[in-house]
Subunit: 97 residues, 2 copies
DNA sequence: CTTATATTTGCCAATATTTGTCAAGACAAT
DNA sequence: ATTGTCTTGACAAATATTGGCAAATATAAG
């Protein structure tokens, strides 16, 4: 199952002609890990997002948002009450502001 | 940290003068677990919600919604991009409908 | 086709997280 | 002080997650 952040990272990386290996060394993990991250097979750690944004010259906040949206989607995917729960949480957010 | 579902369960249980022990036996866990569930110290399993609804004569869907909202809140709590991510996911939901 | 390079995949052991149970403690009522 | 309910922390067992390796597969070039 693909993720928004994974897709984005792959898009950025290939457009800049970077190899998995090059990103991997900066993130200090095996190339296979990056491959899996991009394909949505392995979760991306939140601390890695800033590093990725640096390497790929991307906006940190944008990547963070994609990451968060992926996390949320994992929770609600396939849940019948997803809509209601989302509304409820949005409401709660407005209050705490 | 309190949860919406935990609070609701405690409310329903006490209003019906049920003891932790009574709920525990039906759920087949130690009373300490129920205590922690109600106080938000231990996560509630999704499979347990239907049973809880039965015991407490509550609406299953309502409890499910509270449970989901709690899960979502866990993900976004303390996240700067929470608002944007929520909007993004809501949008995605509408499409897949 | 063969070689060279890049990516993907399956599997493993190490690590981390989660689980339920138990025992001790807090608290109130009597 | 005794009883009954609830809370809390510690513990080990079970489960999940992690990164790396190596084999498999793809991609590109000659």
């Amino acid at each position: 199952m693909a993720t928004q952040l994974g897709d984005k990272i792959r898009e950025l990386r290939t457009k800049q002609n970077l190899l998995l290996r090059q990103v991997a060394s900066k993130l200090d993990v095996d190339t296979s890990i990056i491959s899996k991250m991009e394909r949505g097979d392995r979760p991306i750690k939140q601390e890695q997002i800033a590093i990725l944004a640096d390497i790929l010259k991307a906006d940190k906040e944008e990547l963070q948002t994609l990451w968060l949206a992926d996390q949320l989607y994992n929770v609600i995917e396939g849940q019948p009450m997803a809509d209601e729960a989302l509304k409820s949480v949005s409401k709660k957010m407005k209050k705490s502001k």
